[in-house]
């Protein structure tokens, strides 16, 4: 088992600055009342907020090298951004575009299609998604549901993918396809002819999934058989590792809400936070969060230094943080009592985000199984 020195698990100065800037923006423009109000509309995403986050703050380009107009930052910074976006349950396609699609593109060989796409993403003028079912996990096989054929020198795609993040919003789709029996990654325009797409009603209405159907849709190749599988696995692992930080953010906010309520809500003539059973449960949640923070930071740090332990760190962070987020969000509801179960209180926003996130990019269960293989703890025969 490889066991490198543990990198820094703290937040660096630049990361803290990034956090402060983003938190201020979100406080001003993405209060939970805003998020809640949006759910009852037809507009899943806050386009103004997304523009501010992606283009004005330049966070869409955090992972993108400066040569393509990006910030040339790295996964540690993305992780901090995700913590804050998670905290705010922000309705923006950051994970789909700035993490999943971007890391897939970065893992593809250089080329006109890829480079143009990266520049557009870095500018924040385009939004992309990785057109895979969002519950896929890093070790899942290459998807077979879309096939491509060469027609007159052009790639033509047919098939469908369900459960795709931000698919109705994205101008660009990075799509795993099978061409002549071999895996490829292709780039498709969201408004391409013969492409149909739409969101479905989703458990987490702040981050809906949807499906895309292709019937001989023109596409450009991003990666051929020699790169496609690795690039896809890389992107999904990147997404899984960093999603842990978003889950951390959700959990932090859920606990903060709960603790705030425990201090002000009175029953039996006392603030309910003075009841020992609730005090102890809150303390346990806080302890879990401290561990989750270490796990999420470790995953981001391992990505940042391309550590040989990155696969372990990713599986570990997902196996741990997704459960902490759900547990904390569930306790947030419970500690609020009846009010936490109403639509007009934000607790359900955290709960839905946490639970849906637990299904994304591999459940904790999948990631534990992955760990078993990675650290030589094989199943019983």
């Amino acid at each position: 088992m490889s066991e490198p020195t543990i990198p820094s698990l703290l937040y660096g100065e630049i990361e803290e600055e990034l956090r402060a800037t983003l938190r201020e923006l979100l406080r001003d423009r993405c209060g939970w009342h805003d998020v809640l109000a949006r759910i009852d509309t037809d507009e899943a995403y806050d386009e103004g907020l997304w523009k501010a986050v992606a283009a004005e703050l330049g966070l869409a380009g955090l992972l993108i090298p400066e040569e393509f107009g990006g910030a040339g930052a790295g996964p540690r910074e993305v992780a901090v951004a995700l913590e804050e976006l998670g905290r705010a349950v922000a309705p923006v396609p950051f994970l789909a575009s700035a993490v999943l699609a971007t890391s897939a593109l970065l893992a593809c060989p250089a080329g006109a299609a890829r480079d143009t796409a990266l520049r557009a993403l870095a500018e924040g003028t385009r939004t992309a998604t990785l057109a895979v079912t969002a519950t896929t996990w890093p070790e899942a096989g290459f998807p077979l549901s879309v096939t491509g054929a060469w027609e007159d020198g052009e790639l033509s795609l047919t098939g469908a993918v369900t459960g795709v993040l931000a698919v109705d919003r994205a101008e660009l789709l990075v799509l795993p396809v099978i061409v002549a029996g071999e895996p490829h990654l292709a780039l498709v325009a969201g408004d391409a002819a013969n492409l149909a797409r739409g969101a479905v009603t989703s458990l987490d209405a702040t981050r809906p999934v949807g499906q895309v159907t292709l019937d001989q849709v023109r596409a450009r190749v991003l990666a051929g058989p020699e790169h496609a599988e690795r690039a896809l696995g890389h992107a999904v692992r990147y997404g899984a590792a960093l999603l842990a930080s978003e889950q951390l953010g959700v959990a932090e906010q859920a606990l903060a809400e709960a603790v705030g309520y425990l201090k002000v809500r009175h029953q039996f003539g006392r603030p309910i936070g003075s009841f020992q059973a609730l005090r102890h449960r809150a303390a346990d949640l806080w302890s879990d969060l401290a561990s989750a923070r270490a796990a999420a930071r470790y995953a981001a740090a391992c990505l940042a230094e391309d550590s040989p332990d990155a696969a372990v760190a990713t599986a570990l962070a997902q196996a741990y943080c997704s459960e902490v987020a759900v547990r904390t969000a569930e306790e947030c509801v419970q500690m609020h009592g009846g009010i936490g179960f109403t639509w007009e209180h934000p607790a359900h926003l955290y709960l839905k985000r946490a639970m849906a996130s637990a299904l994304l990019l591999g459940t904790a269960d999948r990631h534990r199984a992955t760990l078993g293989a990675l650290v030589d703890l094989p199943p019983a025969i």
């Binding site: 459960g163 179960f341 269960d365």
Partner: protein, 438 residues
């Protein structure tokens, strides 16, 4: 949700049964003992009751009239609640004979009334009216309650009084002519939007300690100043209501029990809720575990080793809980009710939460979807299994540990009443309500 929550919470106030005399009284009185004269005719045994059912059906053929009409005749024959007094839909018979009537009616082809239309009235309203209403109230209220023509709801819980029901703030003040003027806000009220009558608990004296300044009323929901608004939940649905009371006039004749005795009267209501929680043994794999087990069997592609272990653990817990409930039922049947009901309620909430989460995880991609967020009214209770997306059941289950008494309050009940553990120090039972921090 808290509507029933409030109910049980109160019943379960750790110290209320001890420090605050009134808390225990209705428990002892037990509310519904027959107090009317015995009915004319033979001794009220099973044979006699079967005979009366036969008479009823012969006189009023249920196949030729509406259900409401037949229920009215049944009430008039004293066959609604046989243990209630004569004139109150009963015969002053033994409660155990009720089942004889139900069976005889089914055998005679008469549809048995469903509790669905008026569950709160039937389960909690009627016993309270019989135990604490005056003759006029009984005469006016019981028959249409029984037939379902007048639906009832319960106005106990408030935004500031959930687990601590006795801390409620809705104020009832006497005006010059002896009527009461009520102002306040109630919450978690099932069926308020359909109800003609409500059981209302309000504060009549804020200078007394909290349990002592309460009075109980029957409230006509059509009175001016009553406003009902739907309360939307995390599921998107509105199962409950908020009820705003603004200078609502309640005649003193609609008071149940003495002024200041509201806490004791409310315990009749609550005790009857608790009894209603019982019922027959559910079959194996009822509840959400059945849905998960079926999905596991039907869709092998969703199975993973880790989920298998969780499924088996959940199955064990659910089956053991089922046996536990059956044991409670058997104890009740031989007249030895134990305090296991609170434990069963806690276990149900926890299990339903765990199992619906497992369901969602097993479901995978489809679990990311939902069926409908649009706010819709629901009359009462959660949707039946299979009617909605798994995510609905996951979300709805979060309420299970809050409604009908939070799991925290029920743990206190067990600690106090079963284990007789020392109480926590309390600061709220001796001071004037108005001085209490809130």
């Amino acid at each position: 949700m808290r509507e029933r929550g409030g109910v049980s919470d109160t019943d379960n106030q750790p110290d209320d049964g001890r420090d605050d005399g009134p808390g225990n009284e209705p428990r002892a009185a037990s509310g519904t003992a027959p107090d009317g004269p015995p009915a004319a005719g033979g001794p009220l045994d099973a044979a006699e009751l079967r005979r009366r059912v036969a008479d009823l059906v012969a006189a009023h053929d249920p196949t030729t009239m509406t259900s409401v009409e037949f229920l009215g005749h049944r009430f008039d024959a004293g066959l609604a609640w046989v243990h209630f007094p004569v004139g109150c839909g009963g015969l002053g018979a033994s409660r155990a004979l009720q089942q004889v009537v139900e069976d005889a009616l089914i055998a005679a082809g008469a549809k048995v009334v469903s509790a669905y239309r008026n569950p709160i009235g039937l389960g909690m309203g009627a016993p309270t009216i019989v135990a604490h209403g005056d003759a006029e109230s009984r005469a006016r209220l019981l028959r249409p309650l029984w037939t379902g023509e007048e639906v009832w709801c319960q106005l106990f819980s408030e935004p500031g009084a959930g687990s601590d029901l006795a801390g409620l703030a809705t104020r009832a003040m006497r005006d010059g002519d002896g009527d009461w003027i009520v102002t306040g806000q109630k919450v978690w009220t099932s069926l308020a939007h359909k109800a003609r009558w409500a059981m209302l608990l309000a504060r009549t004296d804020p200078d007394l300690p909290k349990h002592q300044g309460l009075t109980y009323f029957f409230l006509d929901m059509t009175s001016p100043g009553v406003e009902v608004r739907p309360l939307r939940q995390a599921t998107g649905q509105a199962e409950f209501n908020e009820v705003f009371l603004t200078d609502v006039r309640v005649p003193d004749a609609h008071r149940a029990g003495e002024v200041g005795q509201g806490w004791a009267v409310s315990n009749t209501t609550l005790m009857n809720e608790r009894v209603a929680i019982g019922g027959g043994a559910a079959p194996r794999e009822a509840n959400a575990i059945g849905a998960v087990a079926r999905m596991w069997r039907d869709r092998p592609e969703l199975r993973t080793p880790g989920l298998h272990d969780r499924l088996l653990r959940a199955w064990v817990e659910c089956e053991v809980a089922r046996l536990g409930n059956e044991r409670i039922r058997q104890q009740l049947a031989v007249g030895a009710p134990g305090p296991e009901g609170s434990a069963a309620k806690i276990a149900y909430a926890r299990l339903n939460q765990d199992v619906t989460r497992l369901w969602l995880e097993l479901t995978g991609e489809e679990g990311l979807g939902y069926d409908e967020w649009t706010m819709r009214r629901s009359d009462m209770g959660q949707a039946t299994l299979g009617a909605r997306a798994p995510g609905y059941y996951y979300l709805r289950a979060k309420g299970n540990s809050i409604e009908g008494g939070t799991s925290e309050v029920l743990r206190n009940v067990i600690a106090d009443r079963v284990l007789d553990l020392p109480r926590e120090p309390r600061t709220d039972t001796k001071v004037a309500w108005k001085e209490m921090p809130r």
